[in-house]
Protein backbone atom coordinates (compact mmCIF):
# COMPACT_ATOMS: atom_id res chain seq x y z
CA UNK A 1 0.00 0.00 0.00
CA UNK A 2 2.74 2.41 1.06
CA UNK A 3 4.89 1.38 -1.92
CA UNK A 4 1.95 1.97 -4.21
CA UNK A 5 1.42 5.41 -2.67
CA UNK A 6 5.11 6.19 -3.00
CA UNK A 7 5.00 5.19 -6.62
CA UNK A 8 2.05 7.43 -7.36
CA UNK A 9 3.66 10.38 -5.57
CA UNK A 10 6.91 9.76 -7.43
CA UNK A 11 5.06 9.71 -10.73
CA UNK A 12 3.44 13.07 -9.90
CA UNK A 13 6.83 14.49 -9.01
CA UNK A 14 8.31 13.25 -12.28
CA UNK A 15 5.50 14.29 -14.56
CA UNK A 16 4.08 17.47 -13.03
CA UNK A 17 6.03 18.84 -10.09
CA UNK A 18 9.61 18.78 -11.29
CA UNK A 19 8.76 20.11 -14.76
CA UNK A 20 7.06 23.05 -13.01
CA UNK A 21 9.82 23.94 -10.53
CA UNK A 22 12.47 23.41 -13.21
CA UNK A 23 11.37 26.80 -14.53
CA UNK A 24 13.11 28.33 -11.50
CA UNK A 25 16.06 25.95 -11.55
CA UNK A 26 14.57 23.83 -8.79
CA UNK A 27 13.83 20.18 -8.20
CA UNK A 28 12.03 18.04 -5.65
CA UNK A 29 12.98 14.61 -4.34
CA UNK A 30 10.69 12.17 -2.59
CA UNK A 31 12.30 11.10 0.70
CA UNK A 32 9.57 8.86 2.08
CA UNK A 33 5.89 8.28 2.66
CA UNK A 34 4.89 7.39 6.21
CA UNK A 35 1.30 7.13 7.49
CA UNK A 36 0.03 8.98 4.44
CA UNK A 37 2.46 11.80 5.07
CA UNK A 38 4.76 12.65 2.20
CA UNK A 39 8.29 13.81 3.05
CA UNK A 40 10.04 15.83 0.37
CA UNK A 41 13.34 17.55 -0.13
CA UNK A 42 13.76 20.61 -2.32
CA UNK A 43 16.94 21.43 -4.22
CA UNK A 44 18.43 23.81 -6.75
CA UNK A 45 16.60 27.13 -6.96
CA UNK A 46 13.99 25.93 -4.43
CA UNK A 47 16.53 25.36 -1.63
CA UNK A 48 16.58 28.51 0.48
CA UNK A 49 14.17 30.29 -1.83
CA UNK A 50 12.00 32.99 -0.26
CA UNK A 51 8.96 31.46 -1.97
CA UNK A 52 9.71 27.81 -1.13
CA UNK A 53 6.92 27.63 1.44
CA UNK A 54 4.40 28.94 -1.07
CA UNK A 55 5.61 26.44 -3.66
CA UNK A 56 5.37 23.59 -1.18
CA UNK A 57 2.03 24.32 0.46
CA UNK A 58 0.01 26.10 -2.21
CA UNK A 59 1.57 24.32 -5.17
CA UNK A 60 3.02 20.90 -4.45
CA UNK A 61 0.83 19.85 -1.51
CA UNK A 62 -2.33 21.06 -3.18
CA UNK A 63 -1.50 19.18 -6.37
CA UNK A 64 -0.59 15.96 -4.58
CA UNK A 65 -3.74 16.04 -2.44
CA UNK A 66 -5.93 16.69 -5.46
CA UNK A 67 -4.45 13.80 -7.39
CA UNK A 68 -3.99 11.45 -4.43
CA UNK A 69 -6.69 12.31 -1.85
CA UNK A 70 -5.43 9.82 0.73
CA UNK A 71 -2.29 11.94 1.26
CA UNK A 72 -2.81 13.80 4.53
CA UNK A 73 0.11 16.20 4.49
CA UNK A 74 3.28 17.08 2.61
CA UNK A 75 6.28 17.95 4.76
CA UNK A 76 9.51 19.66 3.81
CA UNK A 77 12.75 18.11 5.08
CA UNK A 78 15.01 20.55 3.26
CA UNK A 79 17.87 22.34 4.99
CA UNK A 80 17.07 25.68 3.42
CA UNK A 81 19.99 27.39 5.14
CA UNK A 82 22.35 25.32 2.99
CA UNK A 83 20.86 26.48 -0.29
CA UNK A 84 23.51 28.11 -2.44
CA UNK A 85 21.43 29.35 -5.36
CA UNK A 86 17.91 30.26 -4.20
CA UNK A 87 15.65 31.70 -6.87
CA UNK A 88 14.37 34.43 -4.54
CA UNK A 89 16.36 35.74 -1.57
CA UNK A 90 14.50 37.06 1.48
CA UNK A 91 15.18 40.45 3.07
CA UNK A 92 13.66 42.63 5.75
CA UNK A 93 11.04 44.94 4.29
Amino acid sequence: MSDDLKGRVQELIDTMINPAVAGHGGFVELIDVQDNRVYLQMGGGCQGCGAADITLKSGIERLIKEEIPEVAEVLDTTDHSSGTNPYYQAGKA
Partner: protein, 409 residues
Amino acid sequence: MQRLLLLLPTTTYRTHDFLDAARTLGVEVVCASDEPSTFEAHAPDNLLTLDFADPDAAAAKVAALADRRPLSAVVGVDDLTAVAAAAIAERLGLRASGRAAVAAARDKYQMRQCLAAAGVPIPRFRRIALKDDPFLAARGVAFPCVLKPLALSASRGVIRANNVDQFIAAFRRIVALLARDDVEASGDAAQFLLAEEYLPGIEVALEGLLIGGTFHALALFDKPDPLEGPFFEETIYVTPSRLPAATQAAIERVSADACAALGLGEGPVHAELRVNNDGPWVLEVAARSIGGLCSRTLRFGTGMTLEEIILRHALGWPIASLARERRPAGVMMIPIPRAGRLAAVRGTEAAGAVAGVEEVAITAHVGQDVVPLPEGWQYLGFIFARAETPAAVEAALRDAHARLSFEIA
Protein backbone atom coordinates in the same frame (compact mmCIF):
# COMPACT_ATOMS: atom_id res chain seq x y z
CA MET B 1 -13.82 26.64 5.01
CA GLN B 2 -12.91 30.33 5.19
CA ARG B 3 -10.44 31.62 2.62
CA LEU B 4 -7.60 33.91 3.59
CA LEU B 5 -5.57 35.97 1.13
CA LEU B 6 -1.95 36.50 2.14
CA LEU B 7 0.15 39.05 0.28
CA LEU B 8 3.63 37.53 0.32
CA PRO B 9 6.43 39.22 -1.60
CA THR B 10 9.00 36.79 -2.95
CA THR B 11 11.62 38.59 -0.88
CA THR B 12 9.93 38.58 2.53
CA TYR B 13 11.23 36.69 5.55
CA ARG B 14 7.64 36.40 6.79
CA THR B 15 6.19 33.71 4.51
CA HIS B 16 6.96 30.66 6.63
CA ASP B 17 5.51 32.03 9.86
CA PHE B 18 2.31 33.33 8.27
CA LEU B 19 1.70 30.08 6.38
CA ASP B 20 2.33 28.14 9.59
CA ALA B 21 -0.23 30.27 11.40
CA ALA B 22 -2.79 29.80 8.63
CA ARG B 23 -2.26 26.05 8.78
CA THR B 24 -2.75 26.08 12.54
CA LEU B 25 -6.02 27.94 12.11
CA GLY B 26 -7.19 25.54 9.43
CA VAL B 27 -8.15 28.16 6.86
CA GLU B 28 -7.71 27.83 3.11
CA VAL B 29 -4.87 30.06 1.96
CA VAL B 30 -4.66 32.06 -1.22
CA CYS B 31 -1.08 33.27 -1.78
CA ALA B 32 -0.49 36.39 -3.81
CA SER B 33 3.04 37.35 -4.70
CA ASP B 34 4.83 39.85 -6.89
CA GLU B 35 6.24 37.17 -9.18
CA PRO B 36 4.42 34.20 -10.69
CA SER B 37 4.55 30.90 -8.86
CA THR B 38 5.67 27.91 -10.88
CA PHE B 39 2.31 26.34 -9.92
CA GLU B 40 0.01 29.26 -10.71
CA ALA B 41 -1.46 27.52 -13.75
CA HIS B 42 -2.26 24.43 -11.64
CA ALA B 43 -3.98 26.38 -8.84
CA PRO B 44 -5.38 29.65 -10.21
CA ASP B 45 -7.79 30.03 -7.27
CA ASN B 46 -5.00 29.77 -4.71
CA LEU B 47 -1.96 31.34 -6.35
CA LEU B 48 -1.92 34.68 -8.06
CA THR B 49 0.48 37.37 -9.09
CA LEU B 50 -0.19 40.97 -8.06
CA ASP B 51 1.61 44.23 -8.65
CA PHE B 52 1.80 45.46 -5.07
CA ALA B 53 2.93 48.88 -6.30
CA ASP B 54 -0.42 49.30 -8.09
CA PRO B 55 -3.04 48.84 -5.36
CA ASP B 56 -6.00 49.58 -7.67
CA ALA B 57 -4.97 46.93 -10.17
CA ALA B 58 -4.28 44.48 -7.35
CA ALA B 59 -7.72 45.14 -5.84
CA ALA B 60 -9.44 44.69 -9.22
CA LYS B 61 -7.68 41.38 -9.85
CA VAL B 62 -8.53 40.06 -6.39
CA ALA B 63 -12.15 41.25 -6.72
CA ALA B 64 -12.49 39.15 -9.88
CA LEU B 65 -11.17 36.13 -8.00
CA ALA B 66 -13.42 36.81 -5.02
CA ASP B 67 -16.48 36.89 -7.30
CA ARG B 68 -15.82 33.22 -8.08
CA ARG B 69 -14.42 32.16 -4.71
CA PRO B 70 -15.19 34.61 -1.88
CA LEU B 71 -12.48 35.68 0.55
CA SER B 72 -12.91 36.16 4.30
CA ALA B 73 -9.78 38.19 5.03
CA VAL B 74 -6.70 39.75 3.50
CA VAL B 75 -3.37 40.29 5.25
CA GLY B 76 -0.31 42.05 3.86
CA VAL B 77 2.75 40.76 5.67
CA ASP B 78 5.10 43.72 5.34
CA ASP B 79 5.60 47.30 4.18
CA LEU B 80 5.65 46.36 0.49
CA THR B 81 2.15 44.91 0.68
CA ALA B 82 0.44 47.10 3.29
CA VAL B 83 -1.25 49.56 0.93
CA ALA B 84 -2.31 46.90 -1.57
CA ALA B 85 -3.81 44.86 1.28
CA ALA B 86 -5.74 47.91 2.49
CA ALA B 87 -7.00 48.63 -1.03
CA ILE B 88 -8.16 45.03 -1.45
CA ALA B 89 -9.85 45.05 1.96
CA GLU B 90 -11.59 48.32 1.15
CA ARG B 91 -12.88 46.98 -2.17
CA LEU B 92 -14.12 43.69 -0.70
CA GLY B 93 -15.39 45.14 2.59
CA LEU B 94 -12.92 43.16 4.69
CA ARG B 95 -11.52 44.08 8.09
CA ALA B 96 -8.51 46.39 7.87
CA SER B 97 -7.41 49.99 8.37
CA GLY B 98 -8.51 52.40 5.67
CA ARG B 99 -6.36 52.67 2.58
CA ALA B 100 -5.67 56.39 3.01
CA ALA B 101 -4.44 55.85 6.56
CA VAL B 102 -2.16 52.97 5.58
CA ALA B 103 -0.80 54.98 2.64
CA ALA B 104 -0.07 57.90 4.97
CA ALA B 105 1.83 55.59 7.31
CA ARG B 106 3.82 54.25 4.36
CA ASP B 107 5.08 57.72 3.40
CA LYS B 108 7.36 59.17 6.06
CA TYR B 109 6.55 62.76 5.03
CA GLN B 110 2.79 62.29 5.01
CA MET B 111 3.05 60.48 8.31
CA ARG B 112 4.97 63.31 9.93
CA GLN B 113 2.49 65.86 8.62
CA CYS B 114 -0.41 63.92 10.17
CA LEU B 115 1.40 63.44 13.46
CA ALA B 116 2.55 67.06 13.67
CA ALA B 117 -0.98 68.30 12.99
CA ALA B 118 -2.28 66.13 15.84
CA GLY B 119 0.39 67.30 18.28
CA VAL B 120 2.13 63.92 18.52
CA PRO B 121 5.77 64.48 19.54
CA ILE B 122 8.02 63.98 16.51
CA PRO B 123 11.36 65.44 15.39
CA ARG B 124 11.30 68.59 13.27
CA PHE B 125 11.31 67.56 9.62
CA ARG B 126 11.55 68.85 6.10
CA ARG B 127 10.97 67.22 2.70
CA ILE B 128 13.63 67.93 0.09
CA ALA B 129 13.43 67.20 -3.64
CA LEU B 130 16.17 64.93 -4.95
CA LYS B 131 16.65 67.32 -7.86
CA ASP B 132 17.49 70.16 -5.46
CA ASP B 133 21.05 71.33 -4.94
CA PRO B 134 22.21 69.57 -1.75
CA PHE B 135 24.43 72.47 -0.68
CA LEU B 136 21.49 74.86 -0.80
CA ALA B 137 19.18 72.30 0.81
CA ALA B 138 21.63 71.87 3.70
CA ARG B 139 21.33 75.55 4.53
CA GLY B 140 17.72 75.01 5.57
CA VAL B 141 18.35 72.36 8.22
CA ALA B 142 19.76 72.34 11.72
CA PHE B 143 22.56 69.92 12.65
CA PRO B 144 22.83 67.16 13.61
CA CYS B 145 20.11 65.83 11.34
CA VAL B 146 19.06 62.50 9.84
CA LEU B 147 18.38 62.02 6.14
CA LYS B 148 16.14 59.19 5.02
CA PRO B 149 14.18 57.99 1.99
CA LEU B 150 10.40 58.41 2.22
CA ALA B 151 9.43 54.77 1.88
CA LEU B 152 12.24 52.31 2.57
CA SER B 153 12.33 50.04 5.61
CA ALA B 154 14.87 48.39 7.92
CA SER B 155 16.93 51.60 8.32
CA ARG B 156 17.88 51.40 4.66
CA GLY B 157 19.24 54.74 3.50
CA VAL B 158 18.97 56.36 6.94
CA ILE B 159 22.09 58.48 7.50
CA ARG B 160 23.07 60.99 10.16
CA ALA B 161 24.77 64.23 9.11
CA ASN B 162 26.54 66.51 11.58
CA ASN B 163 27.51 69.24 9.12
CA VAL B 164 27.05 70.46 5.58
CA ASP B 165 29.71 68.20 4.08
CA GLN B 166 28.16 65.12 5.66
CA PHE B 167 24.71 66.29 4.57
CA ILE B 168 25.82 66.55 0.94
CA ALA B 169 27.49 63.14 1.05
CA ALA B 170 24.41 61.55 2.62
CA PHE B 171 22.11 63.28 0.15
CA ARG B 172 24.07 61.92 -2.81
CA ARG B 173 24.23 58.47 -1.29
CA ILE B 174 20.42 58.36 -0.95
CA VAL B 175 19.97 59.58 -4.53
CA ALA B 176 22.23 56.76 -5.71
CA LEU B 177 20.43 54.24 -3.48
CA LEU B 178 17.01 55.16 -4.89
CA ALA B 179 18.36 54.58 -8.39
CA ARG B 180 19.43 51.01 -7.62
CA ASP B 181 17.64 48.18 -9.43
CA ASP B 182 16.73 46.47 -6.17
CA VAL B 183 14.93 49.54 -4.78
CA GLU B 184 11.24 49.93 -5.48
CA ALA B 185 10.39 53.60 -5.22
CA SER B 186 7.73 55.41 -7.17
CA GLY B 187 5.79 58.67 -6.93
CA ASP B 188 6.96 61.01 -4.18
CA ALA B 189 9.22 58.30 -2.77
CA ALA B 190 11.30 58.47 -5.95
CA GLN B 191 11.49 62.26 -5.97
CA PHE B 192 12.03 63.37 -2.38
CA LEU B 193 13.89 62.54 0.78
CA LEU B 194 13.27 63.55 4.36
CA ALA B 195 15.63 65.51 6.58
CA GLU B 196 14.75 65.55 10.25
CA GLU B 197 16.24 66.65 13.52
CA TYR B 198 18.50 64.05 15.16
CA LEU B 199 17.14 63.28 18.60
CA PRO B 200 19.53 61.96 21.24
CA GLY B 201 18.22 59.19 23.44
CA ILE B 202 17.50 55.51 23.50
CA GLU B 203 15.34 53.74 20.97
CA VAL B 204 12.48 51.28 21.46
CA ALA B 205 10.05 49.39 19.26
CA LEU B 206 6.44 48.81 20.18
CA GLU B 207 4.35 46.07 18.65
CA GLY B 208 0.62 46.65 18.79
CA LEU B 209 -2.73 45.54 17.48
CA LEU B 210 -5.60 47.87 16.66
CA ILE B 211 -9.07 46.47 17.22
CA GLY B 212 -12.01 48.72 16.41
CA GLY B 213 -9.80 51.78 16.71
CA THR B 214 -8.41 50.83 20.13
CA PHE B 215 -4.64 50.33 20.43
CA HIS B 216 -3.50 47.23 22.32
CA ALA B 217 0.20 47.06 23.18
CA LEU B 218 1.55 43.56 22.55
CA ALA B 219 5.25 43.92 23.30
CA LEU B 220 7.69 46.73 23.97
CA PHE B 221 11.25 46.00 22.86
CA ASP B 222 14.35 47.74 24.18
CA LYS B 223 17.18 48.22 21.68
CA PRO B 224 20.23 48.09 23.94
CA ASP B 225 22.79 48.90 21.25
CA PRO B 226 23.16 52.67 20.85
CA LEU B 227 21.71 54.02 17.63
CA GLU B 228 23.66 57.23 17.13
CA GLY B 229 24.66 56.99 13.49
CA PRO B 230 26.05 57.57 11.01
CA PHE B 231 23.91 54.54 10.08
CA PHE B 232 21.18 53.06 12.22
CA GLU B 233 21.70 49.34 12.14
CA GLU B 234 19.17 47.41 14.21
CA THR B 235 20.69 44.54 16.09
CA ILE B 236 19.29 43.46 19.47
CA TYR B 237 15.64 43.63 20.53
CA VAL B 238 14.71 42.51 24.05
CA THR B 239 11.29 42.35 25.68
CA PRO B 240 9.93 43.13 28.22
CA SER B 241 11.40 46.60 28.39
CA ARG B 242 13.60 47.57 31.32
CA LEU B 243 12.32 51.15 31.22
CA PRO B 244 10.31 52.50 34.16
CA ALA B 245 6.60 51.70 34.06
CA ALA B 246 5.67 55.36 33.66
CA THR B 247 7.94 55.67 30.61
CA GLN B 248 6.46 52.53 29.10
CA ALA B 249 2.97 53.90 29.66
CA ALA B 250 3.96 57.16 27.96
CA ILE B 251 5.36 55.21 24.98
CA GLU B 252 2.09 53.31 24.61
CA ARG B 253 0.09 56.51 24.94
CA VAL B 254 1.92 58.44 22.22
CA SER B 255 1.90 55.39 19.95
CA ALA B 256 -1.87 55.11 20.34
CA ASP B 257 -2.15 58.84 19.64
CA ALA B 258 -0.05 58.42 16.51
CA CYS B 259 -2.28 55.62 15.21
CA ALA B 260 -5.36 57.75 15.86
CA ALA B 261 -3.78 60.74 14.13
CA LEU B 262 -3.07 58.64 11.04
CA GLY B 263 -6.56 57.14 11.10
CA LEU B 264 -5.35 53.57 11.56
CA GLY B 265 -8.07 51.49 13.17
CA GLU B 266 -7.55 47.77 12.54
CA GLY B 267 -4.66 45.34 12.41
CA PRO B 268 -1.01 45.19 13.41
CA VAL B 269 1.18 48.23 13.95
CA HIS B 270 4.90 48.50 14.52
CA ALA B 271 6.12 51.76 16.05
CA GLU B 272 9.67 53.00 16.53
CA LEU B 273 10.32 55.69 19.13
CA ARG B 274 13.16 57.63 20.68
CA VAL B 275 13.03 58.27 24.40
CA ASN B 276 14.93 61.02 26.20
CA ASN B 277 14.43 63.42 29.09
CA ASP B 278 11.61 65.11 27.20
CA GLY B 279 9.71 61.83 26.89
CA PRO B 280 8.95 59.57 23.91
CA TRP B 281 9.16 60.81 20.32
CA VAL B 282 7.57 58.90 17.48
CA LEU B 283 9.95 58.10 14.62
CA GLU B 284 7.81 55.66 12.65
CA VAL B 285 4.41 53.99 12.79
CA ALA B 286 4.00 51.23 10.22
CA ALA B 287 0.71 49.44 9.50
CA ARG B 288 2.32 46.01 9.68
CA SER B 289 3.88 43.67 12.17
CA ILE B 290 7.55 43.48 13.15
CA GLY B 291 9.88 42.57 10.27
CA GLY B 292 12.39 39.84 9.59
CA LEU B 293 12.01 36.72 11.71
CA CYS B 294 11.78 38.84 14.88
CA SER B 295 8.19 37.83 15.65
CA ARG B 296 9.52 34.44 16.76
CA THR B 297 10.44 36.09 20.06
CA LEU B 298 6.76 36.54 20.83
CA ARG B 299 4.26 34.10 22.30
CA PHE B 300 0.86 35.05 23.64
CA GLY B 301 -1.66 33.42 25.96
CA THR B 302 -1.11 29.69 25.81
CA GLY B 303 1.48 29.81 23.04
CA MET B 304 -0.19 31.69 20.21
CA THR B 305 2.16 33.30 17.71
CA LEU B 306 1.95 36.91 16.59
CA GLU B 307 0.92 35.72 13.13
CA GLU B 308 -1.98 33.72 14.57
CA ILE B 309 -3.18 36.80 16.40
CA ILE B 310 -2.98 38.89 13.23
CA LEU B 311 -4.85 36.30 11.18
CA ARG B 312 -7.49 35.75 13.86
CA HIS B 313 -8.07 39.48 14.03
CA ALA B 314 -8.37 39.79 10.24
CA LEU B 315 -10.81 36.86 10.14
CA GLY B 316 -12.86 38.35 12.97
CA TRP B 317 -12.20 35.34 15.19
CA PRO B 318 -11.94 35.61 18.97
CA ILE B 319 -8.47 36.03 20.53
CA ALA B 320 -8.27 34.44 23.96
CA SER B 321 -5.47 36.65 25.24
CA LEU B 322 -3.21 39.41 24.00
CA ALA B 323 -0.92 39.00 27.01
CA ARG B 324 2.65 38.10 26.11
CA GLU B 325 4.27 35.21 27.96
CA ARG B 326 6.10 36.36 31.10
CA ARG B 327 9.52 34.99 30.17
CA PRO B 328 11.88 37.61 28.74
CA ALA B 329 12.85 37.06 25.12
CA GLY B 330 14.98 38.67 22.48
CA VAL B 331 16.39 38.53 19.02
CA MET B 332 19.59 39.68 17.41
CA MET B 333 19.49 40.58 13.75
CA ILE B 334 22.98 39.64 12.66
CA PRO B 335 24.41 42.63 10.82
CA ILE B 336 26.47 42.48 7.66
CA PRO B 337 29.91 43.81 8.64
CA ARG B 338 31.10 44.63 5.13
CA ALA B 339 30.22 44.19 1.49
CA GLY B 340 31.35 41.11 -0.39
CA ARG B 341 30.46 37.52 -1.10
CA LEU B 342 29.65 35.27 1.82
CA ALA B 343 32.20 32.48 1.64
CA ALA B 344 31.67 30.61 4.91
CA VAL B 345 29.77 30.66 8.20
CA ARG B 346 31.39 29.17 11.28
CA GLY B 347 30.38 28.67 14.87
CA THR B 348 26.66 28.06 14.40
CA GLU B 349 26.71 25.04 16.69
CA ALA B 350 28.70 26.86 19.38
CA ALA B 351 26.34 29.83 19.18
CA GLY B 352 23.33 27.55 19.52
CA ALA B 353 24.88 25.95 22.60
CA VAL B 354 24.85 29.19 24.61
CA ALA B 355 22.48 28.91 27.56
CA GLY B 356 19.20 30.60 26.73
CA VAL B 357 19.71 30.58 22.96
CA GLU B 358 16.79 28.86 21.27
CA GLU B 359 17.66 29.19 17.63
CA VAL B 360 20.38 30.46 15.35
CA ALA B 361 18.89 30.98 11.90
CA ILE B 362 21.43 31.85 9.22
CA THR B 363 19.35 33.26 6.37
CA ALA B 364 22.12 34.41 4.05
CA HIS B 365 23.53 31.64 1.91
CA VAL B 366 27.12 30.89 1.02
CA GLY B 367 27.87 32.52 -2.29
CA GLN B 368 25.43 35.37 -1.69
CA ASP B 369 26.55 38.94 -2.30
CA VAL B 370 25.97 40.77 0.97
CA VAL B 371 25.58 44.52 1.30
CA PRO B 372 25.76 46.40 4.62
CA LEU B 373 23.75 49.49 5.56
CA PRO B 374 22.88 52.01 4.38
CA GLU B 375 22.49 50.41 0.94
CA GLY B 376 21.70 46.90 2.20
CA TRP B 377 18.40 45.56 3.45
CA GLN B 378 19.17 42.05 4.59
CA TYR B 379 20.77 40.33 7.56
CA LEU B 380 23.11 37.40 7.79
CA GLY B 381 20.61 35.75 10.09
CA PHE B 382 18.84 35.90 13.43
CA ILE B 383 19.62 34.66 16.94
CA PHE B 384 16.76 34.02 19.38
CA ALA B 385 17.02 33.69 23.15
CA ARG B 386 14.83 33.34 26.22
CA ALA B 387 16.02 33.64 29.82
CA GLU B 388 14.99 34.64 33.34
CA THR B 389 15.77 38.33 32.90
CA PRO B 390 16.07 40.78 29.99
CA ALA B 391 19.75 41.27 30.91
CA ALA B 392 20.36 37.53 30.64
CA VAL B 393 18.64 37.47 27.26
CA GLU B 394 20.86 40.28 26.02
CA ALA B 395 23.98 38.58 27.35
CA ALA B 396 23.05 35.29 25.67
CA LEU B 397 22.51 37.02 22.34
CA ARG B 398 25.86 38.81 22.56
CA ASP B 399 27.66 35.63 23.60
CA ALA B 400 26.13 33.66 20.75
CA HIS B 401 26.97 36.36 18.23
CA ALA B 402 30.58 36.44 19.43
CA ARG B 403 30.87 32.72 18.66
CA LEU B 404 29.83 33.18 15.05
CA SER B 405 32.22 34.14 12.31
CA PHE B 406 31.41 35.06 8.76
CA GLU B 407 34.00 34.88 6.03
CA ILE B 408 33.19 37.53 3.45
CA ALA B 409 35.44 37.55 0.41
